[in-house]
């Protein structure tokens, strides 16, 4: 059914349409329809994956429109890259959608939530299958829209509404860059289809700095969507959305679309002279990996910590792609999708139980909610790169690739790994260890009369399934098993083997770094050898810098809201008083001119008579002597 892969996205779309028009009347108030849609899609995705592994490929094209003399053909491609994404999105989204049934149970806008989820799933699958810039851009915008709608799902909360707005506009800035990149590419290659574009580029249609510029501009879109520095600020705010949304969109799938875009258009980047474009990708990724991680260390909101973690991990993926670690980057994308979804869903389970996002008000949840705790810890271990969990394999592959090409960036990666363990350790201790610090006695009587308790099965089961992936998925990329993933997803010419002999050493080193992070977390938060307060006192500026998120948000607020608002108001006043003023002035002048002139019409005959003769004289004089 590889040739019918285009049907897969339509399943969630059908679910979306059904829920929009018949919402509450559907089984499960729409939830079941939505689940049916995505599960079917997921199954389809797995089947396609299987067939592709078996060697099937497909590229279905049709003419979108004939513009001028040139038909613009578009279509869907099924190759390993899209197949693996299809399967990943299908599976993760299915689990998260099922989980949502429990998580959103009490929400008054329950059907709407599932409608949006289905729409998102459609958009994401559509994006993944795109074989051309037009469709990828379209899917890109649609997932952005869904993200916007879902972040703002609780639109009556001002913070959520603002976050939604911020997310959409910020990513649009990236899309602006991407669109310019697409325009450059179309101008020189005359096509929007990836295969034709790449063929033209190989044929020399687009070369040199312009090619680099085009690649970097396209990457700009990925920067926005994957929340890379400097367009990262929207993602932490996006945590205002319901937690399943954070898990699906802002951890597993949509934010990874930026990485997917780079992977999809990899020939473009590769063709850039001296790998300039890839270097840009690598540096942006490396910087993001570290910077985001540092901010995670001081964050108290459980979801925001995970958000910074996501940004940081996306940085790793970019880093991987940027250093020719094509396979590694994509592998990390897949593993990350599972364990980060797991972490978010776990966090959601926690939040569901304690009704707060603040880590400081949790604690001791391990006893109350064992399933959640243990699956969460599995995810954490995967994230921090502890073998043999999934993240270990993928992150290690990236670090190895980085070391092969950019030892400097390897330091970034290593620092990021250390910080990852640190903040995740902090999170785990705060949330699950110790004793319960929340439950304000007064408030406790109201809704959460009881102490925190385990979530319902509909939420726990997906956690468990995801945990299985988080634990075992890494092996598909393991060299010991012959790296089946690498054989499936690879890019000719993009190889990143670390220098001979360094492989094992690096492996040990990266494990050591991850463990060191854990140890540091333990030292600071558990055993309190170096209590966090003392650290804070030791370097207050550093703490403030991190809490203020490097002042980037403030800068943007100043530039876009302050200066931009000023420009906007100035434009408004300019239009009203200068441009329209000139228009009205013309009319006013004509009127005043008339008003002034009419005093010539004195009403007195002698003036009139004088002017008759004067008129004759003047005309003659002017005509004859002037």
């Amino acid at each position: 059914m590889t040739h019918l892969a285009w049907v897969i996205p339509l399943l969630p779309l059908a679910a979306f349409t059904a829920i929009v028009f018949a919402g509450p009347r559907l089984p499960g108030r729409g939830a079941y329809v939505s689940i049916a849609g995505i599960v079917l899609a997921g199954v389809g995705g797995l089947i396609v994956l299987g067939e592709v592994i078996g060697g099937a490929r497909a590229d279905v094209t049709y003419t979108w429109a004939v513009l001028g003399a040139r038909p613009i053909t578009v279509g869907f491609v099924v190759d390993p890259l899209s197949a693996i994404m299809l399967a990943m999105v299908g599976v993760v989204a299915s689990l998260i959608t099922i989980y949502s049934v429990g998580y959103m149970a009490a929400d008054p806008h329950y059907p709407r939530f599932f409608a949006y989820m289905s729409l998102f799933q459609f958009s994401m699958l559509f994006l993944v299958l795109a074989d051309n810039f037009l469709f990828i851009y379209a899917g890109w915008e649609l997932v952005g829209l869904c993200s916007y709608l879902l972040i703002g799902f609780w639109f009556e909360r001002p913070a959520a509404a603002r976050a939604a707005l911020k997310a959409f506009v910020t990513t649009r800035v990236g899309d602006f860059s991407m669109m310019i990149g697409i325009l450059i590419i179309f101008l020189h290659t005359g096509s929007l289809r990836f295969d034709e574009v790449f063929r033209s580029i190989q044929g020399g249609a687009l070369t040199g700095p312009l090619l680099t510029a085009a690649a970097v501009l396209v990457f700009g879109g990925a920067v926005g969507k994957s929340a890379q520095v400097p367009l990262h600020t929207w993602l932490p705010d996006a945590m205002e959305g319901p937690t399943p949304v954070s898990a699906l969109i802002h951890a597993a799938t949509m934010v990874a679309a930026g990485v997917y875009l780079v992977a999809r258009t990899y020939p473009l980047f590769l063709a850039s002279p001296d790998h300039t474009a890839l270097t840009v990708v690598a540096y942006i990724g490396g910087i993001t990996a570290v910077v985001a991680a540092t901010m995670g260390v001081v964050e108290d909101d459980i979801k925001r910590v995970l958000a910074y973690s996501t940004i940081s991990q996306l940085g790793y993926m970019m880093l991987g792609l940027g250093v020719l670690g094509y396979t590694a980057g994509m592998f990390h994308l897949i593993t990350h999708a599972f364990f980060k979804a797991l972490l978010f869903l776990g966090a959601g389970s926690v939040i569901h139980a304690v009704a707060t996002n603040n880590l400081k008000q949790m604690g001791g949840l391990a006893r109350a909610m064992p399933w959640t705790t243990w699956t969460f810890i599995a995810g954490t271990l995967a994230l921090t790169g502890i073998p043999p969990f999934a993240g270990f394999f993928s992150k290690d592959a990236i670090l190895a690739a980085v070391f092969a090409h950019h030892p400097v960036l390897w330091a970034f990666g290593a620092a990021g790994a250390f910080l990852t363990s640190l903040y995740m350790g902090r999170l785990v201790w705060y949330a699950f260890a110790g004793s319960y610090r929340g439950g304000d006695p007064a408030a406790a009587t109201a809704s959460h009369a009881h102490a925190p308790h385990e979530s319902p099965a509909v939420m726990v089961v997906p956690l468990a399934i995801l945990a299985v992936f988080a634990v075992f998925l890494g092996w598909v990329g393991s060299e010991t098993l012959g790296n089946p993933f690498g054989r499936f997803i690879n890019f000719p010419g993009a190889t990143a083997e670390p220098p001979a002999g360094t492989g094992a050493g690096l492996l040990v080193l990266s494990i050591a770094i991850a463990v060191a992070g854990w140890a540091a977390a333990g030292a600071i938060y558990v055993w309190r050898l170096v209590p966090s307060e003392s650290l804070r006192r030791a370097a207050p500026w550093a703490y403030t810098l991190l809490v203020r998120r490097y002042y980037v948000d403030d800068l943007y607020a100043w530039v876009f809201l302050g200066v931009g608002g000023l420009v906007m108001r100035a434009a408004g006043l300019f239009d009203r008083y200068v441009i329209d003023g000139l228009v009205n002035l013309t009319g006013w002048l004509a009127r005043q001119f008339g008003l002034g002139l009419r005093y010539v019409q004195t009403g007195r005959e002698e003036t009139y008579l004088l002017l008759v003769f004067l008129g004759v004289l003047v005309i003659v004089v002017v005509r004859l002597w002037w």
Binding site: Q601, T602, G603, R604
Partner: protein
């Protein structure tokens, strides 16, 4: 030698006198007199041209005759209007007749 130009100059001066009366006098009757002077100036021209420039026919004199007749008509109508205006507006000074302006 007395010639056409002499007459034309007299006519021009007479015309200017009439013009002066028309534009500077307040009393409408005097303005009418000024207009009569202007018409007479034109008539001098016509008759003089008839003699010096177009002696073959008598169109100039005919024209002058018509002008004289029309001047009489004009005077009659004009003075009637002045009288009527005097009744309603109670003035013959044209600069006082300016209900309508601008």
């Amino acid at each position: 030698m007395l010639g056409l130009t002499h007459y034309l100059v007299v006519a021009a001066l007479l015309f200017a006198l009439g013009l002066f009366a028309v534009v500077t006098r307040r009393n409408s009757v005097t303005i009418l007199m000024g207009i009569e002077l202007m018409l007479n100036a034109a008539n001098i021209n016509l008759v003089a041209f008839n003699k010096y420039a177009a002696p073959g026919a008598m169109q100039g004199q005919i024209f002058a005759l018509i002008v004289i007749t029309l001047a009489a008509c004009e005077a009659a109508v004009g003075l009637a209007l002045v009288l009527a205006a005097y009744r309603t507006l109670e003035t013959v000074y044209v600069d006082e007749i300016n209900i309508m302006k601008w």
